[in-house]
């Protein structure tokens, strides 16, 4: 779920987008958590400026901690590893790369002006 600022198609769809913070609030290669309509969403900015949004809940421990994991790559796939027991998840598909039977939900994310918005619909 990569949406760069030039991706205008998504912004035209309009509904369901919520502003969570300024783009500059996000540190490269680190995550934050946003609370939107009761959903905890882990938001990451990678080194190249791309943004990703996945569920904050670690399916292996049940704790809401994935936004605090280490961002990296496996092959060409941008990833985050759970700070609890180190399972690695794709930031693109949400899939757990160590256990394909497990996946995180993914959410729409975009930059509107200088704000970062996520979509939980």
């Amino acid at each position: 779920m990569t949406v760069l600022s030039e991706d205008l198609r998504a912004s035209r769809e309009g509904a369901g987008w919520t502003r969570i913070c300024a783009y500059t609030d996000l540190l490269p290669e680190r995550g934050v958590c946003a609370l939107v309509d009761g959903h905890q969403i882990a938001v990451f900015r990678t080194f190249d400026g791309a943004l990703y949004a996945v569920g904050n809940r670690d399916p292996f421990s049940g704790a809401f901690v994935l936004s605090r994991g280490i961002v990296g790559s496996r092959g060409d796939e941008p990833t985050v590893s759970s700070p609890m027991h180190k399972q690695v998840f794709s930031l693109v598909s949400g899939e757990c790369l160590d256990d394909p039977a497990v996946a995180l939900p993914t959410y729409g994310i975009r930059v509107a002006g200088d704000a970062v918005e996520v979509n939980v619909l």
Partner: protein
């Protein structure tokens, strides 16, 4: 009680994408509603296989127990402290699991099953995985309060409760499960008896000679073994509860707990009532495709009867699950009678049996001193191996089992005496992992085709070694034999070891991860290399660990300067050097814990851990602590933790030196020092060693003349006593030696390598030469590096509190900084708080990687 749980944490869009993709491109047959009756290990494997292969229909599992499938093989570990969650198998997403749902009827006409609570579940395909029930022989008194079976977690809970006010316990049945149950009773502190009808223990796995050796082992553990003994009756005391077991010879064993473990019977009652074919002695009759006499119904696991055999071992049951899954998906897999070999460790004794249990000739090796019994059965020309039995040492199981039915690579006696063939040339079709039926050929081709370089790779690629793990040593050997050079690369991003990276960073003066990975690595890093490089940069003194790009390298503990706990909260450990603390400071810790509702616990390192802080509370807590003069204790870092001490010569009438004073001086000198792994130390004021210094990375014990330094000790997974490194040092000499030792370790150790392993790899004599005799001529440099560390130390928490930019990161939610995480809650226990754990849809047995 029926509780329904959808193991379904993903968004709808993702689930559709997944089903549409059909993982391996397999088309599933037109089954839309699959219902599985029973949720044990076999059912779990079936569901996992189906979802993994892209099954397109819905899966509903009806489990009788109040909890999802768990590893019954590891049941005894539950009493030893593992939680039910630890043993639970993950449930794939998209599967509907109804627990506490006992199925009471099958309407094959209407294709509907009904549960005890009246729920009706329609199916297109039904799989019976009802397992088996323990057989309880018709002994008078078998229903008394205090009689149990040993199969489910509920059984174990009941046994544990009954054992609390019991003195002794009896297990009826001296087979595999019976001995496991006996181990459990012994673990619960009961005087334990095993009563076996047969002439010796484990009659299905070992012969009389092996049984005798096994009995010797078990009796030496204090268990009472009664073989050739039945049970006349179980008698009750005045309170109606069990208080004795009478043997046919009239002898009474006083006991308050009786556990029946006299075999199992297939649970075929549902199939029987539904008119399916069942065997004369029980078991649901299935064909090679695990199909019952009704083509819409399959049966798998311990309830299934295949060619007159019921299988109780996990290996064949998993194979059945995979065969049934394949058939449901339209495949043609077939179940063939399987190897019933077993290897296990019971009560610390290895017992193994493979192949046939008799033969034209047999060769026995027996060592009564160590209690080893090994027997091989061979053909009449003594060349073909037919089977074997091992008690006490099961090494031949691993090395010889693949030769069953083949020509032996040497004479049987030679093979037993030398512990098996040294140069193992297994044929490709030899089975290496019998749990998952993986041959050597399959493993070799996986190594070659996938470029595997470690056992973890073989496991994830072939599943070999993932069930009982007994073939893991063979996997290693196969790996070595295939000429794989075991890589020292840190991870996929760096082809260097940690020690090599340390030198690169040090010599080239690199100060950022970006520069290092751009010049010496590939990709963008991961949770292995980023914290490693962060630690290297910190060891070489590159400012605050949360400054600039370094912040993104830290794992969550270093990032929040606190220790993450299982519910996502953190614990806080202020430094208490040497374990010495004033009453005023103790009061501050108490007040902070009280005001923030934290759970407090005294640690093994003579300090106090405060648990249950949310990220946004951490700065508030630390503001109070720093104002009272506390500093970070670095409990969250791979860094110096504590220097523990005994009370020393100041107070103790035996002490010969001031151990507390030295401990405080050392802790203040090395505080904040980042290293490949955590560092612990202790100082004892005399040879009585009350501070347990020899269990530390560097430990100091006072002598009349000065200090003895010990290095390379630790507790943990593999405890090791520290080795004496230098004797009778003055305080100045001691500090100089420790400076050099620690810096040499920090420069040359691997990632997460404690001093103990590092010391064994380097060799104690070599490290002594480098550190004490300066054989490499680097000691001046090592000392200077430590001086820079000491001079550059600043409290990490104070630095955070003084910097609004760093403080801004301590929020649960970026868009709601004042809002606490609603998933975190606590409940009371022993007048303090404990976390309320979030229910799991999926759980994991082990961390994926260390």
């Amino acid at each position: 009680m029926t509780s329904e749980r959808r193991a379904d944490a993903v968004s709808g869009a993702f689930r559709e994408g997944r089903a549409g993709r059909g993982a391996n491109g397999e088309a599933s047959a037109t089954v839309s509603r699959l219902v599985v009756v029973g949720h044990g290990p076999t059912a779990s494997r079936l569901v996992e296989t189906l979802t993994g292969r892209g099954f397109g229909g819905t899966i509903t599992v009806l489990g009788e127990e109040p909890r999802p499938a768990y590893d019954r093989v590891a049941l005894t570990s539950y009493l030893a402290g593992k939680s039910a969650e630890d043993l639970t198998y993950p449930v794939p997403e998209g599967v509907t699991l109804r627990l506490g749902a006992r199925v009471t009827g099958i309407d094959r006409e209407a294709k509907v099953v009904t549960t005890a609570d009246g729920h009706a579940e329609p199916y297109d395909v039904l799989v019976l995985a009802t397992g088996s029930s323990p057989f309880v022989p018709p002994v008078p008194g078998r229903d008394l309060d205090g009689c149990f079976v040993y199969r489910t977690i509920d059984d174990l809970d009941a046994i544990r409760e009954a054992s609390q006010d019991a003195v002794s316990g009896v297990v009826i049945g001296g087979g595999l499960l019976g001995l496991e149950a006996a181990d459990a009773l012994r673990g619960l502190g009961l005087a334990t008896h095993v009563v076996e009808m047969g002439g010796w223990l484990m009659p299905r796995q070992v012969d009389e000679g092996g049984g005798a050796v096994l009995r010797g082992h078990i009796e030496s553990l204090g268990l009472n073994v009664h073989t050739g003994a039945g049970v006349k009756e179980i008698v009750a005391g005045p309170d109606g509860r069990v208080n004795g077991l009478v043997k046919p010879d009239g002898e009474t064993i006083e006991t308050q707990v009786v556990v029946f473990s006299a075999g199992v019977r297939p649970r075929d009652e549902l199939a029987r009532a539904g008119g399916l074919d069942v065997g004369e002695r029980g078991g649901i009759v299935v064909d090679d495709g695990m199909r019952t006499s009704d083509p819409a119904i399959y049966a798998v696991g311990e309830c299934a009867l295949h060619e007159g055999m019921v299988y109780g071992l996990v290996g064949p049951c998993f194979t059945m699950a995979e065969v049934a899954a394949d058939r449901i998906l339209g495949g043609e897999a077939a179940f063939a009678p399987v190897d019933m070999s077993t290897k296990l460790k019971l009560l610390g004794v290895e017992v193994a049996q493979f192949g046939a249990m008799d033969g034209a000739l047999d060769v026995t090796f027996m060592d009564p001193v160590t209690g080893v019994y090994q027997k091989l059965f061979v053909s009449d020309d003594a060349r073909t191996l037919l089977g074997g039995i091992c008690v006490g040492d099961a090494a031949p199981y691993n090395t010889l089992k693949p030769f069953v039915g083949r020509e032996l690579p040497g004479s049987p006696s030679e093979l037993l005496f030398t512990g098996g063939p040294s140069n193992m040339d297994l044929p490709d079709d030899a089975q290496v992992c019998s749990c998952n039926n993986v041959t050597k050929g399959r493993i070799c081709s996986a190594i070659a085709d996938e470029g595997l370089t470690d056992v973890a790779g073989i496991k994830s690629c072939t599943r070999a070694g993932t069930a009982c793990g007994s073939c893991v040593p063979m996997l290693k050997q196969i790996l070595i034999k295939s000429g794989v050079e075991v890589s020292k690369a840190l991870c996929e991003h760096f082809a260097y070891s940690r020690a090599e990276l340390f030198d690169i960073v040090r010599v080239r003066g690199i100060t950022t991860f970006s520069q290092l990975i751009a010049e010496h690595g590939t990709g963008r890093g991961c949770d292995v290399c980023k914290p490693t490089v962060a630690s290297i940069l910190a060891s070489l003194g590159n400012g605050h660990i949360l400054d600039g790009e370094q912040a993104a390298l830290q794992d969550t503990n270093d990032h929040f300067l606190a220790n993450i706990q299982r519910n996502g909260t953190y614990s806080v450990v202020p430094r208490i050097p040497g374990g010495e603390i004033t009453p005023d400071k103790l009061i501050v810790i108490g007040e902070v814990a009280r005001d923030f509702g934290l759970y407090t616990k005294i640690t093994g390192g003579q300090r106090i851990d405060l648990f249950g802080a949310r990220v946004e509370q951490l700065p508030l807590i630390w503001k109070r602590l720093v104002d009272a003069g506390f500093e970070s204790g670095h409990a969250y870092g791979k860094a110096l933790r504590t220097v523990k001490s005994c009370v020393g010569s100041t107070w103790c009438r035996y002490g010969v030196q001031d151990s507390v004073g030295l401990a405080i001086a050392l802790e203040l000198r090395y505080r904040g020092l980042r290293s490949p792994h955590k560092l612990k130390s202790a100082v004892s004021g005399c040879a009585r060693e009350c501070a347990e210094a020899r269990g530390k990375d560097f430990g100091i014990i006072a002598t009349e003349q000065g200090w003895n330094l010990y290095v390379g000790g630790n507790g943990g997974f593999t405890p090791r006593h520290a080795d004496l490194f230098a004797s009778d040092l003055s305080t100045d000499e001691l500090i100089r030696v420790i400076d050099r030792f620690l810096m040499f370790y920090i420069r040359t150790a691997d990632r997460l390598q404690r001093t103990s392993v590092w010391l064994e790899n380097q060799g104690l004599d070599y490290v002594k030469e480098v550190v004490l005799e300066d054989s490499l001529g680097i000691c001046a440099e090592l000392e200077a590096q430590m001086e820079r560390h000491v001079a550059g130390y600043a409290d990490e928490w104070r630095a955070v509190l003084e910097d609004p930019e760093r403080l801004r990161r301590f929020v649960s939610f970026v868009n709601a900084p004042g809002t606490p995480d609603p998933s975190i809650s606590f409940e009371p226990e022993r007048d303090q708080v404990k976390p309320v754990l979030i229910p799991l849809e999926t759980v994991r047995l082990e961390p994926a990687r260390s």
